[in-house]
Symmetry: C2
Subunit: 379 residues, 2 copies
């Protein structure tokens, strides 16, 4: 089955498009990537998304943006297919994650009830109409309806593609936030452990933008971090935060490592290059800490397979290897999955499961009461 | 096929639930209503919906309300089935219209593009999870994606259930707004004409609330209108509005006959009972005018089949008969369809079409470029 996956994360970089071929059945599926491309959001679209994300906004703006993103998703897919010389009508299905503008995995009191909720936009009907391809979208609400936190959903795909009969593998994705999926050797699906380890790139990105006055959007190849020195006191203090002792499942968010966090770092008065070096080490150390505390007690960790933007930062990769002796640290590319494409590929795979009416959440990862069929189908 | 239909209109009265049995195929379907009930919204839910409808609102409030409405829809259906002694697991499918919180059928400029959009809430994943029944929801976006106005969608069902080989029939639904579906004798689907004729009950409702200081939510049995006198000058002036000369397809909305319109009426200084009598006559006269101008030139009108709250107002029914000599004016009840249930029944029927992957918009009614499969399926 040829399926396209579309992902646009909270980093707001743009739209990741993957076109894949899925073969095999059940837990024996295999995925081959035919095309991958990231289409950046136009700056004013990025601003509009930011303005409606977890913020006061006119309902009309959300409604219009929902339809506009549907158009942009369609154009991103059509462009990607054209460049790769893949006929659009050879694609049988699209899985579209959408743009999250609100997510509250734990219930809060609302009009006298306990309500958890999540809201993604990027109108599937527009995407389906422009491409002529059925779309599965809106993957998270059903897991929340079943008592889960609506996240993470990628561990199901990690388990499908990366489990090994004799090796303990940990998948690490370093996006804005860093998260891991730990798969014991020969594990059953319910033995998978997944959680956010802490910050991914978002703190370093913000500091790099600050240091370069906006010219760099991230610390390319870890060059800024290399010019600074890690401040041990600050690093130790950051790692003493209660989050790192909290047992999984657990999730971290933009609110935790956003503007406020960065301003506190800047307020220390340390040189910004030192802060960048320290924040880079913090990302790697938080991953290592999470693995030491909550994964190694349960399983051998033979391999750490890294994806997401952080894989391109050699400082982070070197520190991961240093902090985790005896673990082979590698890019997902070494396992045939483009590290920037992994999440888009994951939503192509998840769409295929929905199309076949198969449950595709892992209750051990999301906390849901039961496995449920995710998403909504637009013919 | 046993299907439930859920409808909650912009009048915000509550949730209409219909459970129907659909038999037959293609254009020969028949519908039998097994149960119908309206479950009022709790007042604070009604207020919360109003506060996010076409207004500034926090994204989080919309997200939480989306999930809360999913819970209320599920409870409304479960309660209706229980009272009617219908086993929930005998219902094969749910069609849920959702609560519209924004609708803009005509494109506007937005971030450099022309965007039309619509936004309904009432999370289908919650409804599906609580009931164990697949749900079709979100019917309007695909018609907009195909160049239509996303409304009206009921004419498809009107055509299915009410067309006649030798009689010209006009279906009239008097909700907040009044709309008609005109079906020539022996018509093909593309010969159906449908449009909003003007106000339905919303002006009279607002005046009745004003007159009774909120004790009456509407003019029960037209009693207040009976105590007032129609002001001919005002009525004539209201009917001279350019909307009534505009050719269909066209649609009227809450913004047109809302608070501002009512305040202008009150500002005339006429006795409120006279205003109620005049507004009641205005509703009926606007229907008659629409039929005379845009329907009778194309087809014979033998029967006017009325549904919606307005059918319970004998003044309106009498005036319709008086303004349309030679037309048989009757309630849809005489044709086997409960007049308050018609819209909920319609979305049960539309859900069945989506389930079978059949297009169910009428381009002649919505302006869409082509017939499209509406809605999204949640397994």
């Amino acid at each position: 089955m040829r399926v396209a996956g579309l992902m646009s994360g909270t980093s707001l970089d743009g739209i990741d498009v993957a076109i894949v071929e899925i073969t095999g059945r059940g837990w024996s599926k295999r995925v081959r990537t035919l095309a991958f491309r990231t289409v950046p959001y136009p700056e004013r679209v990025r601003q509009a998304i930011l303005s409606v994300s977890n913020a006061p906004a006119h309902t009309g703006k959300i409604s219009r943006l929902n339809f506009l993103l549907g158009e942009l998703y369609a154009e991103a897919l059509i462009g990607t297919a054209r460049r790769a010389r893949i006929r659009l009508d050879s694609i049988e299905l699209i899985g579209s994650h959408g743009q999250t503008i609100f997510h509250e995995g734990a219930p809060v009191s609302f009009l006298g009830r306990k309500i958890a909720s999540t809201l993604q936009i990027g109108e599937a009907a527009v995407l389906a109409e422009r491409t002529g391809i059925p779309v599965v979208a809106d993957f998270r609400p059903r897991d929340i309806a079943a008592g889960g936190r609506g996240a993470p959903l990628v561990p199901y795909v990690d388990y499908l593609l990366f489990r090994h009969p004799r090796r303990g593998r940990v998948l690490l994705n370093i996006g804005g936030i860093a998260n891991i999926t730990a798969i014991p050797p020969g594990a059953r699906p319910d033995q998978v452990v997944a959680f956010d380890t802490g910050p991914g790139n978002m703190v370093v990105d913000a500091l790099a933008r600050h240091y370069t006055k906006g010219r760099w959007k991230f610390d390319r190849d870890g060059r800024l971090a290399t010019r600074g020195r890690v401040n041990r006191d600050l690093l130790d203090r950051l790692l003493r935060h209660p989050y790192f002792r909290q047992r999984p499942p657990k999730s971290a968010g933009r609110e935790q490592y956003g503007r406020e966090f960065v301003e506190e770092l800047l307020a220390t008065g340390l040189p910004v290059l030192d802060l960048i070096a320290t924040a880079t080490a913090f990302t790697a150390a938080a991953v290592a800490l999470g693995i030491e505390r909550f994964v190694r007690p349960r399983m051998p960790v033979d391999e750490l397979i890294v994806s997401g933007g952080g894989v391109h930062n050699p400082r982070i990769m070197a520190q991961l290897a240093a902090f985790l002796p005896g673990v082979r640290v590698a890019s997902s590319a070494d396992y045939g999955i483009h590290p920037d494409a992994k999440e888009a590929i994951a939503f192509a795979v998840l769409a295929g499961e929905t199309w076949g009416r198969r449950p595709a959440n892992l209750p051990s990862a999301t906390g849901a009461r039961r496995p449920v069929v995710l998403g909504k189908i637009t013919w």
